[in-house]
Every structure is written in structure tokens, then in C-alpha cells.
């Protein structure tokens, strides 16, 4: 019985092919747009997520306060208010997973005939944990290397490529600002940071070594930056408060005086970037949904015309025993077939368009099963929703009025 109805609907659609195709086109464009936009949006979200993950999660950055001399204020970190013992004290706070004091800089690095200017980061083994940065080969330096100021280094992929080419860097000796360093291990690639820097173009050495042998510092034991990782994201505000209280106490900052350090929540920055891409992809989806809606209205329009045109046919069917639900089903099926078929074609076009976008512009696209499923179910719903009113109108016709209709 249902099958027979399907055949009827198919026949009715075939009777006016051009009109059926044009009606379907509304759905095709709507679904195609939704799938394409969702693929691009999800691709963008994924790229952002990748950069966030490469940065490390649940991170705070503590910067030393600034100095001012003769009215000219220098940047944060120029004063020597943070110390390595501050970082050790922070590590004792509840909710803190790892703490890494950082002395960043850049230096000319030489290996054999090659030389290369690269970022040199002085830190502790905790730095790798905080950044969730793993080793590709060799070993990391240890806490005792930091204590004794050993001249050892870990090298990033880009720096390794520029200095060593195809050679294995582990165990080799390089010179950083004239001082010899032994490479203990190589780091796995991490890609671009959120601001577009190549994070792999860097060398990591113990912070004590960096301060004594590479950059030098007037105030040993002070540090410009401390990276703090919490155990979970939701406790970050609590940890932030206790960290500020601890540092104010340690630095003997009186009430009413400004902090002599500044604190940034890197995760919050990253989250807002992720949030804005999420909103962008939602917006794209919303705009595409409007075309789906327009497609649905097109279906309703044509179904209304079709019901009027076939009033006499409806009358005949009622005269030979069609019930309301039979007529309803007949027209509803027609609307559903048009929208589902249109949806299917739209899906193919949307996926094709997404792949083409990826090929032509290198934009990251993700075609997920869920977005396909969403588009499909929305289309079917649109078909039922916009097909229902015309079908209901047909089913409620008076048999004798319908039969008399010319």
C-alpha cells in the first residue's frame, strides 16, 4: 500500500519533470550550501584547535613587572621581580601541574660550516610538559642539569634541518654564542604558533646555562617569564587567585599597591579565538540554512499549485474510496521525495564543492558524518513541514466540490 503510494508520487513528479527539477533545485542549493559552509567552518575550527593544542593547554604566563627610567617605561619582564624560587613556590600550590621559568632569547648557532640564527629558550624539564612537547629522539635534560648549569641542548626540527641537514644531531656539539653545547635530543615537530611563528625553529637549554653562559644576567636567580600549567581548565580562576596572593605575599606588596608582575591566561586567549571561529561557522551555517528555508518554501509553493491543478484528480480518488489520510500521504510523499532527492544531490554537490575548495585554495575542510546527517534530516524535516500544509489542504477537500472543479 505504501509502496503503491510511492509509485503514484513518482508518476506525478515525472508528469511535470521541469517543474519538479526546479523545485528540487531549491533544496539542492540549500543543502549544498549548508554542507559546504559546515565543512569550511569545521575545517577552520580544526585548524585553530590544532594551534591551541600545539601551544599546550591550561596555561598561564607570568611576566616580571616593568621598569621605568626617566619617564620611559620598558616592557613587561624588564624588571627583575620574578625569581626562580618564586616558580618553585608556585609549584607547591594546589592545582598546579607544572611550572617552568623561561628565559627566552635568540642567538647565532654554529655547527661545522653551518650557522643559523634561532630562538634559544632557557628553561627547565617542566617546560616540555607544559607545552606538551615530546622528544623525537635522544633524551631531555634533567633537573640536575639545570642545577649545575650543564651545556646541553634540545633542538627543534627546523633548527636541526638548517644546521645538520640529514645528519643525526644527537650527541653532536654546537656552539651557541661561542659556547659549546652537546645535543641531547631532538624535538617532535609542533608547527606554527597562533601568531604564525615557526615553533620548531628553536633550541631549548637549561635556564641556568642560558643565564650564565649565553645571555648573561645582572641578577642571577631572577627570571623574566614563568609558565604555569594547571591540572584542569575549570580550576584556572582559583589557581590564578592563589598565585597572585602568593606572589604579592612573597614580594611584600602592600595592599593598594599594584602587582609587580603581570599574569596572562593563554588558554583564555586561545579559547576566544576558538569561540570566534565557532561563531563564524555557526553564522555561515545560519546563512546557508536560510537558503534551505527558501528551498522549503519553494516546495510548498509548487505543492500548492499541484494540489489546485489536481483538484479534479483528488475528487476522482475520493469518489472511488480514497480516505483523507490516503490523499495526505500521496502529496506528503511527493514533497518528501522531492526534498530528500534534492538533499541527496545537494549533498554530493556540497561535498564536491568542499573538496574543490580544499584543492583550489588549500583551505582546510572537514566533511563530518554528523554534518551530512544534520543536513539530511533537516531536509527531510523541511519536506514534511512545508509539504504538510498543501497535503492537508488536499485531504480536506470536499469530494463533490473537487469533482466539479474544472
Amino acid at each position: 500500500m505504501k509502496l503503491a503510494m510511492l509509485g503514484e508520487a513518482w508518476r506525478a513528479m515525472g508528469a511535470n519533470r521541469l517543474r519538479t527539477l526546479l523545485t528540487m533545485l531549491g533544496m539542492v542549493i540549500g543543502v549544498g550550501a549548508v554542507v559546504l559552509m559546515m565543512s569550511i567552518g569545521q575545517g577552520a575550527q580544526y585548524s585553530i584547535q590544532q594551534s591551541i593544542n600545539s601551544m599546550g593547554s591550561n596555561l598561564f604566563i607570568l611576566l616580571a613587572g616593568h621598569t621605568s627610567s626617566g619617564g620611559a617605561r620598558s616592557s613587561s619582564g624588564s624588571a627583575h621581580t620574578l625569581t626562580i624560587s618564586d616558580s618553585e613556590a608556585i609549584a607547591e600550590l594546589p592545582g598546579v601541574q607544572s611550572v617552568a621559568p623561561i628565559h627566552p632569547g635568540s642567538a647565532q648557532v654554529v655547527y661545522g660550516p653551518n650557522n643559523w640564527n634561532t630562538g634559544v629558550i632557557g628553561s627547565t624539564p617542566a617546560y616540555l610538559d607544559a607545552r606538551s612537547w615530546s622528544l623525537n629522539s635522544g633524551n631531555a635534560f634533567t633537573a640536575s642539569d639545570v642545577r649545575t648549569g650543564t651545556r646541553v641542548a634540545l633542538i627543534g626540527q627546523t633548527a636541526a634541518l638548517n644546521l645538520f641537514g640529514d645528519e643525526d644531531p644527537v650527541g653532536k656539539t654546537i656552539r651557541i654564542n661561542q659556547s659549546p653545547f652537546t645535543i641531547l635530543g631532538t624535538l617532535n615537530p609542533k608547527g606554527q604558533s597562533m601568531d604564525g611563528r615557526d615553533q620548531d625553529d628553536s633550541i631549548i637549554i637549561p635556564i641556568t646555562t642560558a643565564q650564565r653562559s649565553v645571555f648573561g644576567t645582572q641578577f642571577p636567580g631572577t627570571v623574566r617569564m614563568i609558565m604555569v600549567q594547571t591540572t584542569a581548565q575549570d580550576i584556572m580562576p582559583v589557581v590564578e587567585k592563589s598565585m597572585i596572593a602568593l606572589l604579592r605575599q612573597r614580594h611584600r606588596t602592600r595592599d593598594g599597591m599594584e602587582d609587580d608582575f603581570s599574569l596572562r591566561n593563554l588558554t583564555a586567549v586561545a579559547d576566544s579565538a576558538a569561540e570566534s571561529t565557532r561563531i563564524m561557522s555557526l553564522l555561515l551555517g545560519a546563512i546557508a540554512s536560510v537558503s534551505l528555508l527558501v528551498g522549503g518554501i519553494g516546495i510548498m509553493n509548487i505543492m500548492l499549485v499541484s494540489v489546485t491543478e489536481r483538484t479534479r484528480e483528488i475528487g476522482i480518488r475520493m469518489a472511488i474510496g480514497a480516505r483523507e489520510r490516503d490523499i495526505l500521504l500521496q502529496f506528503l510523499l511527493e514533497a518528501i521525495i522531492i526534498s530528500v532527492l534534492g538533499c541527496f544531490i545537494g549533498l554530493l554537490l556540497g561535498v564536491g564543492g568542499a573538496l574543490l575548495t580544499n584543492k583550489l585554495t588549500d583551505t582546510m575542510v572537514i566533511i563530518s558524518g554528523s554534518s551530512v546527517l544534520v543536513a539530511f534530516s533537516v531536509a527531510a524535516t523541511v519536506g514534511i513541514f512545508f509539504g504538510y500544509y498543501p497535503a492537508h489542504k488536499a485531504a480536506k477537500l470536499d469530494p463533490i466540490e473537487a469533482l466539479r472543479y474544472q
Binding site: M1, A4, A12, R312, M318, G321, I400, L403
Partner: protein
């Protein structure tokens, strides 16, 4: 005598027109027994077609009682009326009313879809009906590929496929020439002999001659109800 197939008491029907309420049927009383062959006659505008549509459960009376096969029509829902039209009544129209895009076989089988008969059985029964009206070779043709007389035979096959008790025909020969009209009437005669109750609307005397009883309408009232005077032997 057994219960009448059709029993009508004090039936009124009026239409709302721009000129006010127009009474199409005024106090009609009629009883038709099983296996009768009744011709409803009268000039145009006399209310005979309105009466026919009420008999066929396509239209509802304004007031009065209509009992079909022992069931009071006024109490039935739209779906129950649809079921009556599907199973108990066969309706044949002046304009044939076949669905133009369907093969003749599908046209004949269409009523069976609405009472849930499976496809194989639908096709088999439709073929049997086509054979009964001598059009089995036209099963896959479309309605516009055959003559008017053939179309009316298809319409009759469609009306009869659910083995109804009652066949209603509203000027079934009105669009046909007299020779094909005569063929249709012979088919009706044969069906009546098989036990089918037939009610036929016509304004032609020689068509009405096929019926055993003639009911004349004038101005919305029955003015005469009598056996056909000179019943010709159906050949």
C-alpha cells in the same frame, strides 16, 4: 421482502447561492430494493444529479434520512463514507473520470489500493475486470489512446472491481454516440441479471427503457415512480 439497499425519507438539499438559498431537493422519499434497475429521469435542473451525488455519498443532504445497506449515512465520518464509496458503491460518471497519466490496468486497480490489497492481487483482479469489459488487450494503454465507449467500459470496470452491491451511473451514455451507448446499456443489463442493484440517471427515454423502474424528478420533487411501461426484452 428483504431490507432495501437504499431507503430515503424526507430528504432536503439546498445550496447557498448569491441569490440566496436555492432548494435543489424538496422532501424526497424513495426506497430501492436489492437487484432493482432504476432509471432516474427529469429535465436538467430537476435535481436528479444532486440526488445521485447524495446517493453516492459524495454530497450530504441538508436534512432527512438516507439509509444505505442498513446504515444511516448522516452518522458516518468522512473516512467511513470513503470506505462505503470504496466497497459498497460503484460510481460511473458521464465524463468517465479516468486518471489520464495512468495505464488502464492501473486505473481499474486504483480502488484496491485504498483498501489495502497487495499488488499481485490488484493486478490479477484488474485483469479479470478488463476481460469482463472485453478490453484485456488494452491493459497498458493510456485513457486518451482509446475511444469514449472504451473509456466508459474501463470506468465501469473500475466501479465494479471491489464487487459493490450498488452501481450508480450519472448519465453514463451522455458523452457517447447511440451505438456505443447501447453497448454500455447491454453491459448494465448483464450486470443487473448477475444480481447488481443499478441506479441510473438519464434524460433519454430509450436509455431508461433498459431499467425496470422509472423515477421522474421535476423541480426537486419526485413526480412519478412506476415500472417502465414497455419493457424491451434485453437481448
Amino acid at each position: 421482502m428483504s431490507l432495501p439497499v437504499i431507503h430515503i425519507e424526507n430528504l432536503f438539499k439546498s445550496y447557498q447561492t448569491s441569490a440566496g438559498l436555492f432548494p435543489a431537493l424538496k422532501n424526497v422519499n424513495l426506497s430501492i430494493a436489492a437487484n432493482e434497475f432504476v432509471a432516474i429521469m427529469g429535465p436538467s435542473g430537476s435535481g436528479k444529479s444532486t440526488f445521485m451525488n447524495i446517493l453516492g455519498c459524495l454530497d450530504k443532504p441538508t436534512s432527512g434520512n438516507y439509509t444505505l445497506n442498513g446504515r444511516a449515512i448522516a452518522e458516518l465520518s468522512r473516512d467511513e463514507l470513503a470506505l462505503l464509496r470504496n466497497l459498497t458503491i460503484g460510481f460511473v460518471f458521464q465524463g468517465f473520470n479516468l486518471l489520464p497519466r495512468m495505464s488502464l490496468l492501473d486505473n481499474v486497480a486504483l480502488p484496491l489500493i485504498y483498501c489495502g490489497v497487495e499488488k499481485a492481487e490488484r493486478q490479477q483482479r484488474a485483469r479479470e475486470m478488463l476481460a469482463k469489459v472485453n478490453l484485456e488487450d488494452k491493459a497498458e494503454s493510456l485513457p486518451n489512446q482509446i475511444s469514449g465507449g472504451q473509456q466508459q467500459r474501463i470506468a465501469i470496470a473500475r466501479a465494479l472491481i471491489n464487487r459493490p452491491r450498488l452501481l450508480l451511473a450519472d448519465e453514463p451514455t451522455g458523452n457517447l454516440d447511440s451505438r456505443t451507448g447501447d453497448e454500455i446499456m447491454k453491459l448494465f443489463d448483464a450486470l443487473n441479471r448477475e444480481g447488481l442493484t443499478i441506479v441510473l440517471v438519464t434524460h433519454e427515454d430509450d436509455i431508461a427503457q433498459h431499467a425496470a423502474r422509472q423515477v421522474h424528478f421535476h423541480d426537486g420533487r419526485i413526480i412519478s415512480d412506476q415500472p417502465t411501461p414497455h419493457l424491451e426484452a434485453a437481448s
